[in-house]
């Protein structure tokens, strides 16, 4: 195997393992399935070209940094090219296929009877996430969905650790508030 092919296989082995994480981050930043896939492709090409310069065992934070940069560039291009579509017009049912069953009870939530949060419809969760400012959203997504450490999140989002912690706390508070409010509204409408 020539060195070029070896480098390619090595990159594929390490990078494709994080494809789901890359896609998830891209999706929650650009909020468009097709665009998110394009972002991942673009980011992986850039990562491959720069792969020789990477040191360290875990390439996940490095890879996600590139994904994030590409996603933000993509967003600014999209904003320039088209009129911005108000988020609310696309949201409510856009991702129905992904939404989990209605009123599913969170498996790891104790004392579920007084825990409204655990029973929210996934569409509501999506809506609540969309209402977060992007800086909060990316922070909580990297922590809760990708299970990254504060240090890695700080590196990816180019923010000090203290900022990561406060963004995380505020993202959680805001999500809880939004969700409680959305659930209350939903319940009222149902009645």
């Amino acid at each position: 195997m020539d060195p070029g092919t070896a480098a390619l296989r090595d990159f594929e082995r390490q990078a494709l393992a994080h494809m789901d994480a890359a896609y998830n981050l891209a999706f929650w930043l650009v909020r468009e399935r097709a665009d998110a896939e394009d972002v991942v492709q673009d980011a992986y090409l850039r990562a491959f070209r720069a792969f020789a310069t990477v040191t360290g065992d875990d390439i996940k934070p490095w890879l996600l940094t590139i994904v994030r940069n590409v996603a933000y560039r993509w967003l600014s291009v999209r904003k320039r090219r088209t009129n911005v579509i108000p988020l609310d017009s696309v949201l409510p049912n856009a991702d129905r296929d992904e939404a989990g069953p209605v009123f599913e009870i969170a498996s790891d939530a104790p004392s579920a009877e007084d825990m409204l949060l655990g029973r929210a419809d996934q569409a509501l969760v999506h809506r609540a996430l969309d209402r977060l400012p992007p800086a909060f959203r990316e922070t909580i997504i990297l922590r809760e969905m990708e299970e990254l450490s504060y240090r890695d999140i700080a590196r990816i989002t180019e923010a000090p650790i203290g900022t990561v912690m406060s963004r995380l706390a505020r993202a959680r508070d805001q999500l809880k508030e939004e969700l409680t409010e959305l659930i209350a509204k939903e319940t009222r409408n149902a009645l």
Partner: protein
């Protein structure tokens, strides 16, 4: 619960960021005090909800990525050096001119400034007078006909817009709009790079029945313009500007059918 301080420590515990010596104490507190317990279960419920909201890519994405990477690796192997960019060439030239620059720098700068000024004035004057002029139309016609003369009019052949669009990344300094118009009777065949109006541009190839259509796209500042039609040598041409892009569509297809394109894009 001593409020904020304790909440922060519970969050740290659940995030696995609490230093080992404190873990036991906070764990105990989280189970002893009712408010803490409630807070902890709220965080866990939220976590469960968020994990379930994780978005998953289409099953084809991994294959598409591998394909693109293979392509890229092959290209890197074929040409070890990337083509010399205008920027790098200019830098090389400047290096070589260094001694002269030192000797005649000031005069050279004055002459250069004068030249630039006159070039800028000429360009401005030309820009004032030219719309998407006949030169562009002839470039477009020549590029289209040339592509028909070759065995293959596309460099990247795919029905899939998500293969064609990223192919242009790195080859152009902008991203062309690549739409799947199969439902409207325009089948995407692929794309290629072309040279029109003195610049590299994206050319997309669509098929309508047996008629091949080249669609050229490049950035152009200015307001949207209504489609303008032209006919040269039996080919129908349409040009319009939209969303900061200049579009040119050309084909031997009937004028009215080709005329549907501006609305679809």
């Amino acid at each position: 619960m001593r409020c904020d301080h304790d909440r922060a420590r519970i969050a740290l515990l659940l995030d696995g960021e609490l230093p080992a010596p404190e873990r036991d104490a906070v764990t105990r507190q989280a189970s002893d005090c009712a408010d803490c317990r409630r807070y902890q279960s709220e965080l866990l419920a939220l976590r469960g909800q968020l994990r379930r909201a994780r978005a998953t890519p289409s099953p084809a994405l991994a294959d598409r990525l591998r394909l693109r990477l293979d392509y890229e690796a092959a290209e890197m192997a074929a040409g070890p050096a990337r083509p010399v960019t205008p920027g790098r060439r200019a830098a090389q030239l400047l290096d070589r001119l260094e001694p002269y620059w030192r000797a005649y720098g000031r005069q050279a700068a004055a002459v250069l400034a004068a030249c630039l000024l006159s070039v800028a004035a000429t360009l401005w004057w030309v820009g004032q007078n030219a719309g998407p002029g006949p030169d562009q139309a002839h470039d477009v016609l020549a590029a289209h006909v040339r592509s028909l003369l070759q065995d293959n009019s596309v460099q990247v052949a795919s029905l899939d817009t998500h293969t064609v669009k990223p192919w242009f990344a790195g080859r152009l300094d902008y991203t062309p709009v690549v739409k799947d118009l199969a439902a409207d009777g325009f089948k995407l065949e692929g794309g290629r790079l072309d040279y029109v109006d003195g610049r590299r541009v994206a050319a997309l190839v669509y098929l309508r029945r047996l008629h091949r259509i080249s669609l050229f796209i490049w950035p152009a500042e200015g307001p949207e313009t209504a489609p303008q039609r032209a006919k040269i040598d039996g080919y129908n041409l349409i040009s319009w500007r939209k969303a900061g892009m200049r579009f040119w569509a050309i084909s031997d297809l009937d004028e009215t059918e080709l005329g549907q394109l501006p609305e679809l894009l």
